[in-house]
Amino acid sequence: MMGSENQGFEEAQLYASREEMESLVLDDDDNNNNNNDNNSSSRSNGGANGDGSQHHHPLSSSLPFAEIPTTDDDDPLLSSPSTHKSPNAFNSFLEPPSYADAVFRSFDGDHGKQINGHGVVSTSSPSSSSDYLKISVTDPQKDQDLKNSLVPGGNTFVTYLITTWTNLPEFNGTEFSVRRRFKDVVTLSDRLSDSYRGFFIPLRPDKSVVESQVMQKQEFVEQRRMALEKYLRKLAAHPVIRRSEELRVFLQVQGKLPLMKTTDVASRMLDGAVKLPKQLFGESVVSAAVDPNEVSQPAKGGRDLLRIFKELRQSVTNDWGETKPPVVEEDKEFLEKKKKLQDFELELSNVSQQAESLVKAQQDIGETLGQLGLAFVKLTKFESEEAMFNSQKVRAADMKNVATSAVKASRLYRELNAQTVKHLDKLHEYLGVMLAVNNAYADRSNALLTVQTLLSELSNLNSRIEKLEAAASKIFGGDRSRVRKLEELKETMRVTDEAKNCAIREYERIKENNKNELNRLDKERHDDFFGMLKGFVVNQVSIL
């Protein structure tokens, strides 16, 4: 049953171009099988292996774009939504396994052990057709910012029409469009990085201030349009991010983008400068403590000056201090994986370079063949015109044949190259992914640093309290001010403790995100590269 369809699938994909592969949608059977998996509560290897033959789409299930069927997914590890500002909270009441589900489904059984022990049952059944989220960016148009009427005629910008087709439940509707400008994309990207720390978030296109001045307007706009489309499609392909509220809002809400804008550094500095004196000399000691709510975010430059100072001090202590910090990166598996990925990144950039030279060499050879052909065409014309002897005519005919074949060969080489570029482009894409990975690692280390900082502070406060208590106990009745101070300190400590707990939770969350993302990356990369190699090879065969 599945086998024959498998074959058909595979063959179709063998000769289909990349584009066709992208738009292939998994069929019903796949989903039904996945349902079966969901309903079985055993996540053991045995169970998975038993089902191995059923969801065995080596190429199809590995389609890298948006086609992994998911039930409601979400950050599956978020058990306590209360302290988080993150909009993920809306999904947290459903049973978690969805994301883990998606991972499991694409895997073979032996990767099952990496899924945490959450229950498998999904409360909502997936839609009868598989889920898709297709985005296209078109129709750039000039627009004007009317607010800033100080500069007459100034402040024009370009908006793009972003059209979405989807059947995901959280979107109201199946097809809709909005107009967005590049600034909105920047906002979206920033909000995503805040909310999804630890995830491998695809990188948004560059702001490229210089290029926008230097390039021709049309060319630049077209380049940007393509880059935006690629970016949004990558977001839609990420199993967690595609369900995010930020993305939904971006794609669907008409008019002004209701996401909080990223404040630029200058205004943040101002805020921070205002807060700092209050923090240092403020009425209550309590306000010097870190606001627990803010702990889940990385320290923003400018605004949280005090916090930045403290964390900086901590990181210095970490590096140069004699004692080990209270919590360290212990996950050996993670460290191993990190090293492996570093090696991988190195080799990848090497291969990418060589691929570039290969493409160039192919291009050169095609060009030279063409030139040779042309030279012979000229010779042929010359000989035929001036022919005084029969032998010349014969020679001219020979030459003409050679010339035409050379020119033809040159064209073939050009085509070969165009295809090769498409295939080997995967390598470059993965270089970009590595950057995202590095960002995720940075999230993790930042969170860890926050935890460490808070822990140090806690121990600090503790020792101060002890000292005060010791001093106070000596004096009968106690100093009123000292008692008050003690109370304040205790209060601070409580707040800080709360903050610490938040920070630890956040750190753990990020760790988990990292782990899942790494698994997902492995699998995707695996399949992507197979596809790439195959595509490259088949391409060479068919053209040559």
Binding site: L348, I365, A375, Q392, M399, H526
Partner: protein, 406 residues
């Protein structure tokens, strides 16, 4: 010994009535076995020249001698001087880059070119009877060296030649002085057409040859790229491990294998396509030399006829005055007339020979280029098939690995 009648029929059909063998006469030569001789600055390459023949003047059925590049140059210069009007086969150039002089590739290219040089001479119905050729093919090394040092350069010219050079310069100067700047040229329209053809042909051929050489280089570059790419992909595969890693290393290995194919094809392309084109260019340049000789001969003839006319006027004057110089002048006049006839004869021989040669040349070139094109097409097809096959063989392996991994 056996004397033969030399009849100059086309195609080397020499039949001696008293020759014991009924075999048609043949002369086949090959240039092989380049070997480095000497040390340091004086080092040079020597070649073995093997002659197989049944020509009566030649020793034995086979003779082997050792020759070096300058010997070939000597032979060419001799032939050029003595067989004016015939397109002397071209020689490979002297190498200008010191480093390159002893590279295997250069030596092979040169050997090939020298081999075709001698063979073309041996197969030419006129040139094959040259005494200088016989010396070249048969003499021992000392004799060869003597001959070589005797006839080198313009410094060892016979007195008559020196006089000729004087006269050329003289007439040139007088031309300029008298305001006759343009050198005397033929006004034969067909010949003009031929000259134009030759000159334009050289340009076209040079361009084609340039691109052919570039193509060779591109093949080499692609080969190098494939090799580097293969290595890098193998390293990447090592990072991945298991099925994907194997896939990568298979691809890398194939890539490296193809790199070797490409290098081989580049060499083949160089030897069998680019070199023939270069040879074609050289041949055209040699023709230009012959054109120059014809122009010289024509000019000499014209000048002599001028001089004769003047002399005749002088002589008649002297006859009238019955001077005692008359006898001498008559003597000179007769001499001049003989020279003039000689010059005319020489010029006409050149013209006749050139007309024959151009036909021979076109035929030869059509053949040569036909072969070169054939090799080119064959080589490219072989390469493309090789590449396609190699990649094709990889597909089932990749499929198997993909299946096994998921």
């Amino acid at each position: 010994m056996i004397t033969t009648q030399r009849s100059h029929t086309g195609g080397g059909g020499l039949q001696s009535p008293r020759s014991p063998s009924s075999q048609p006469p043949f002369l086949s030569v090959s240039v092989t076995d380049p070997a480095k001789m000497g040390n340091g600055v004086q080092a040079y390459i020597s070649y073995k020249v093997i002659t197989k023949t049944n020509f009566p003047d030649y020793q034995g059925p086979e003779k082997i001698v050792i020759r070096r590049y300058t010997d070939f140059v000597w032979l060419r210069d001799c032939l050029f001087k003595k067989y004016k009007g015939i397109f002397i086969p071209p020689l490979p150039e002297k190498s200008t880059v010191e480093k390159f002089r002893f590279s295997a590739e250069f030596i092979e290219m040169r050997r090939q070119a020298l081999d075709s040089f001698v063979n073309r001479i041996a197969l030419h119905h006129e040139l094959q009877h040259s005494e200088d050729l016989r010396t070249f093919l048969q003499a021992d090394e000392q004799t060869m060296e003597r001959a070589r040092s005797q006839d080198t350069g313009i410094f060892k010219r016979k007195p008559a030649d020196l006089m000729q050079i004087f006269r050329d310069v003289q007439s040139k100067v007088s031309d300029v002085v008298l305001g006759k700047e343009k050198p005397v040229e033929e006004t034969n329209p067909e010949y003009e057409k031929l000259k134009r053809y030759i000159f334009e042909l050289e340009d076209h051929l040079a361009e084609a040859q340039k691109h052919a050489y570039r193509l060779v280089k591109r093949h080499r570059e692609l080969g190098q790229s494939l090799s580097d790419f293969g290595k890098a992909i193998k390293l990447l595969g090592a990072c991945e491990g298991d099925a994907l890693g194997t896939a990568f290393s298979e691809l890398g290995a194939k890539s490296e294998m193809l790199s070797i194919k490409l290098q081989r094809e580049a060499h083949h392309l160089l030897m069998n396509f680019e070199e023939p084109l270069k040879d074609y260019v050289r041949a055209v340049q040699s023709i230009k030399g012959t054109i120059g000789e014809r122009a010289n001969a024509f000019r000499q003839q014209c000048e002599l006829s001028e001089t004769i006319k003047l002399k005749e006027i002088d002589l008649n004057k002297l006859r009238l005055t019955r001077s005692e110089k008359m006898l001498d002048a008559e003597h000179e006049y007769e001499e001049l007339k003989a020279d003039g006839e000689e010059a005319t004869r020489r010029f006409e021989t050149i013209v006749k020979l050139m007309n024959e040669e151009i036909i021979r040349f076109q035929d030869e070139k059509t053949q040569d280029m036909g072969l070169a094109f054939h090799e080119f097409a064959k080589g490219q097809a072989r390469l493309a098939n090789g590449i396609a096959d190699a990649w094709r063989s990889l597909i089932p392996k990749l499929d198997a690995l993909t299946l096994s991994s998921s």
